[in-house]
């Protein structure tokens, strides 16, 4: 084994502009048709030359046209693509045949206006069930193609243009050096609502400058997504449009598959770090979230048992509202863990707030109440549930549920 190569997460990321060999743009074209000409809602990213891409998509039976189109493109083009175009404000989901026609039209406009012959990946996010305003979309894509640039401002604009109910831009960059060459992985994402397993109303775009092919990228991306984006939950609603794409343009000249094992390991680590950072930013910026909660379930017979318990607890309305109220109500944690129905034995069951026990072998540790209260009052804390019935565990990053969430979502 070669010795490990350190991977660094940049303290300040400019998103995709950090990755050499990609140009970005983010423009306003009023996709929402509200007359707002300022709100950025169309992003475009292109590689210097057609490049391989890998994708992970929603598993919802109701799957938006752009998701279907991305899958078609990846199947048909040896996965070499120009880049991608993504709009916010309209999901182009449940739009029937017209939806697919419109998604393809977006791709054709992108090719025409950028002058690139390779296909573009197409993504949309926003309200379901409305046809795309194709005149606005056309204007937007044309404007974006004209303003493509490798500067930081364009990259910020692209990252802003994919946001919907997000309140903050989400970008991340990781780098490592191999034989004097810097390898970069950078990304941008949007989240905010419908955040559940198998991703979310979540789009994430990761670019890198390694030499690779789409199959190799797919392997790296799948592992990273399972460990990061699939382990966050805000409201338990899986969207019709979830997409994570990983591009590699080869610009660094480093091929992790044709190098010592430590290089591939470093690349995987860099992709993981970028995905993990974006995933955490998504939960932290969940709709009207006031607290970030890490649920760690330990001591299960199987990983899927641990996941079931973690999701039951993390998606329980009664649990989430008690966090919102800073109420150390571990009874609700125990109740939710129990209805995951994996065969939990109460007399073996431990619960901790951070490192402070609330329940040990099914016995309440009431003397610690003041400490539980302090911990659950913080804006970030950890709940550990140890079933002591095996050696498998699972970690889920989730949030509280506030009155403001309900108010925010009561109409769109």
């Amino acid at each position: 084994m070669s010795s490990p190569i350190p991977v660094t997460l940049l303290e300040i990321s400019n998103g995709i502009a950090d990755c050499p060999g990609f140009k970005t743009a983010g423009v306003a074209c009023d996709v929402r048709e509200t007359g707002d000409e300022e709100r950025l809602d169309m992003a475009m990213v292109v590689a210097e030359a057609p490049c391989p891409v890998a994708g992970v998509f929603t598993q919802n039976d109701v799957c938006a046209a752009p998701v279907l189109l991305c899958k078609q493109i990846m199947a048909g083009s040896n996965s070499k693509v120009a880049g991608f175009v993504a709009n916010s404000g309209n999901a182009n989901a449940v739009t029937g045949e017209q939806g697919m026609t419109d998604a393809k039209e977006m791709g054709a406009i992108a090719q025409l206006s950028s002058g690139i012959g390779s296909p573009f990946m197409i993504c949309s996010t926003g309200r379901i069930g409305r046809k795309l305003p194709m005149d606005k979309i056309k204007d937007g894509i044309e404007k974006a193609a004209k303003s493509l640039s490798d500067d930081a401002q364009s990259s910020h604009n692209a990252a802003d243009a994919i946001l919907t109910s997000d309140t903050r831009r989400k970008v991340a960059t990781a780098q490592f050096v191999y034989e004097g060459k810097t390898v970069t992985v950078s990304g941008m994402a949007k989240g905010a609502g419908m955040i559940e397993p198998n991703m979310a109303t979540m789009l994430a775009f990761i670019t890198s400058d390694v030499v690779s092919n789409s199959e190799q990228l797919k392997n790296v991306l799948t592992v990273a997504v399972n460990q990061t984006f699939n382990r966050i939950s805000i409201d338990g609603d899986m969207s019709t449009n979830d997409t994570v794409l990983l591009f590699a343009n080869g610009k660094s000249g480093v091929d992790p598959w044709d190098a010592p094992a430590s290089v591939l390991f470093a690349f995987k680590e860099a992709v993981h770090m970028v995905c993990d950072t974006l995933a955490e930013k998504i939960v932290g910026d969940g709709e009207k979230v006031t607290k970030l909660v890490e649920i760690v379930v330990e001591g299960c017979p199987r990983v899927r048992d641990a996941e079931k318990v973690a999701r039951a607890v993390g998606n329980s309305l009664l649990v989430k509202t008690s966090w919102y109220g800073s109420d150390p109500n571990w009874g609700r944690l125990a109740d939710a863990a129990g209805y995951a129905r994996i065969g939990l034995k109460e007399e073996l069951f431990d619960i901790y707030y951070d490192d402070v026990p609330a329940l040990i072998n099914g016995v309440p540790q009431d003397a610690n109440l003041p400490q539980w209260k302090d911990i659950v009052s913080k804006n970030r804390f950890r709940i550990t549930l140890n079933l002591n019935q095996g050696s498998c565990d699972y970690r889920l990053l989730t949030s509280d549920l506030s009155e403001a969430y309900v108010n925010f979502n009561k109409s769109e």
Copy 2:
């Protein structure tokens, strides 16, 4: 076949007092230890003579001591019991061995103070993880035993004593006549929070005056519960204490199992009607509920597929908050139906608000928007989802989610 016997649901029910041969009591004993000496929190019901009972219980792995005790009693006593004692304000759940000792002690106190040798069923509801205040409990049971009566006021008191966050008493009575003899089924329930499949923080007590045994009662009760209490959902949280009990004291002299088929049919119908009425009252009085929504899923290959779709839609936070806001956001309905992942085909999918189409064969019926808006603004409406992929259906009664729910549950 004998001709059907009409079964009548009483317009005004006095609860268990409507059923001859049962005495009831509801008293205050400050189970919550707040110093409130007025709030009724201990109910007792006894049959004139020991009678058979059947029960259906929570399937939560974390199961309260009284639930375990009830199961033991039913296994050990040929299911002939004196009646039941139920307290609100403390669930006696996750209370370890002490919890079981306390539950048994409740039974012993009830036998001693009532002078009845047969066992009592024991139920508790309220906060999880706190030991019962046994001195208060003892006072309460003794007081209840002294005030047992067959009058309506006692019955109202008993129905009130089991309530927690409920705002209204929940009682129902159904009757039919066979050969000049009136047969009565009456019941009382509590609901309000943690209302999900396999019941809820839900207690329901059904009494009847048929001649029966516990096995016969169990068959009737299981069918009725599956069709009623198991088809309601408020917040998706299954509790540790859910219990439905059906008692039969034989006082009417009618044995439905030794009579024409129409008599058993009428008895089943009466039990169903009482359960259904109580179930609907539970959803209607869900914590801070403003709307009652009936979800009908049709056209599925299997009933369990239809149930999955109904529960995905009925438990979606984004769907429930849109109902709260009177927003006819059928896109969220489609999204939630899709992530049930039963293989829904978008191009066959129909959605209706009451009888007004929102989506037909995957095509939005946008001209109907004003009508959807009117319907979703009502305080009770129906959503029909037809997958057109089979002949099985499922009905779920659920509710919206309000800001007040979150505020109400943020601490206990």
